[in-house]
Subunit: 383 residues, 2 copies
Amino acid sequence: MGKALVQNASRIIDENARDLNRAKRSGLSGALIDRLALSQPRIRDMAESLFQIAKLKDPVGEVIETVKRPNGLLIKKVRVPIGVVLIIYEARPNVTSDCIGLCLKSGNAVILRGGSEAINSNIAIFDILNKAASRHRIPGHSISIIKHTDRILVDELLKQAALIDLAIPRGGESLIREVAKRSRIPVIKHYKGVCHTYVDEGAGLSMAEEICFNAKVQRPGVCNAMETMLVNRRIAKRFLPSMIRRFRDAGVQIRGTAEVKRIAGDIRLAKEGDWYEEYLDLILSVKIVKDVDEAIRHIMKYGSYHSDAIVTEDRENAAKFLKEVDSACVYVNASTRFTDGGQFGKGAEMGISTDKIHARGPMGLEELTSYKYIVYGSGQVRK
Amino acid sequence: MGKALVQNASRIIDENARDLNRAKRSGLSGALIDRLALSQPRIRDMAESLFQIAKLKDPVGEVIETVKRPNGLLIKKVRVPIGVVLIIYEARPNVTSDCIGLCLKSGNAVILRGGSEAINSNIAIFDILNKAASRHRIPGHSISIIKHTDRILVDELLKQAALIDLAIPRGGESLIREVAKRSRIPVIKHYKGVCHTYVDEGAGLSMAEEICFNAKVQRPGVCNAMETMLVNRRIAKRFLPSMIRRFRDAGVQIRGTAEVKRIAGDIRLAKEGDWYEEYLDLILSVKIVKDVDEAIRHIMKYGSYHSDAIVTEDRENAAKFLKEVDSACVYVNASTRFTDGGQFGKGAEMGISTDKIHARGPMGLEELTSYKYIVYGSGQVRK
């Protein structure tokens, strides 16, 4: 399937050009057009993702647990596919091939419903991959695409709880909220990442500076980038001036409290709404806190339970933070940017779940499976 | 808390009497009144369940998986509570204490919303357990009960996706369907159990007879009892006459196909609707099938993906059945009646999930937890 993508790259690029033309005519933003645009290198990247997925261990059939009961029953908990997975996504055509690869590898059938902006690109990618799959005896209809982009079809799909086992919306927060609200199918949600780094009084300050800089600047447009930096009052005067200078030199706009402004000079004052904001940009909220408890309270109030870090050499404060911050991924002395299926050793990912049901944090192949119990007896009956 | 139940049994029985009086005046069925009625022995059973739960291993904090990454990051996947669990149930007051015990032991806060029929019993049980919990420094509001039984409050609760993490309806199918339809909170569903036993041509016939008899007769009113028996044509004439005689002697009404009738004599003919039916009673549907494939097709068409068994000494047919029947629990050579948290070694159970998301089959303490990733670094940043 990966090879078929590369071999048919020019057809994909032609269909993508139709989407791009329409997008430009309808005045789509530059950022969205960039997400939509495909090129030979981008198609090679899509193929490379499929090659990577192909190499991963097959999760289906894995025995998760074995229990031998006193009555002789042998109970095996075995990983099985979920069944039919519906993916609802927006303008990124690479989602089409990634999701086909991940669902197929985990033994699931997949129904794709991408945004109208990318519909020609998506249909071309689907068609190429589906034909390659059929040639290798993947059962028909294992991969399906919804070619009509009317919204009403999504509503109908989301009612088919008897036919579809799981819905995964991939895209902006408003898409996800809409799907979650209307679906009768279980939904795994990937809401925003309002990620924090708390620089504790026990932090090594040069390590803290490297971690915070990386978490904000290395790739600001993604959900695991830091949006708010919390700094312990006792080290604020030693830490903040050089840290903020470095951020400014990298083009980061700082929005801080009055206390931060007194220490760091000319910054914008943060408004209440800033603490909830996922900027996805070179903007950072900064606040000074009394201690680890105040940091935890801030994160639990304003955060999105995605990824949050403490920088400290103090074991007690680290333990408290790791225990009490109820986020999918909590870090001590590392950048929040590591919240990623590849970085976690999962090989590939469907996204980062901010849910607590079924899958939390990076969703790899295992998180796209369910399980069943296989029970081996020799005539046992219940007394 | 268990001791407090026993010590206050007479208060619970007084409140239960109020519920019973109202139930009798309003003409509730005998079966429902039996479920509602509490007595000293039943209250001791409720207390005993709590003592059992107390003895179970604490699931919270368990390290499920540890990964050391090449960059030195140490990633621990750790079991954590889900958060706030809403239980919606019907007329059985013992659900009140069971759910409080299971949720508390797994670190979750619980909101109970029981049926109006048992409201006085439920409030008494809640009040006794909640007071005992407070005396032992369980945080306030860890256990809550909805004292008003207006339906509209349930609708409001099911919209509180920001405050409640999981809804578990316990009761009849219509209650569960209503909750699933209206909830914006993730729901784990416990639908009906239309359980099958398939007697293969390779079955030891006396073992098959014991297993089928147990699966139907030992306790017919529960979800893991057999509702349909499928028999391979090649052994039907040897197996069915004595099997059906034994069922009849135990008071089981047989509903079979014309072919079954020819072999087993005077039985009722099954209608199409019978194959979908969860009788929960001494009634059994019987069908003769050509082979294991036809048995699997029948089960996947009419079953409820709960518990299904094959009786056979043929390894190939057993393997095929275990692989292709997509039910929560699949058995070879044992009674479906073993689908139960206690029988599976889980110690206690919240019910039997027929869902494939988050929890499938018997739900014990582990299934009432989520997880988070704790990542230990030494200054790692993303390249």
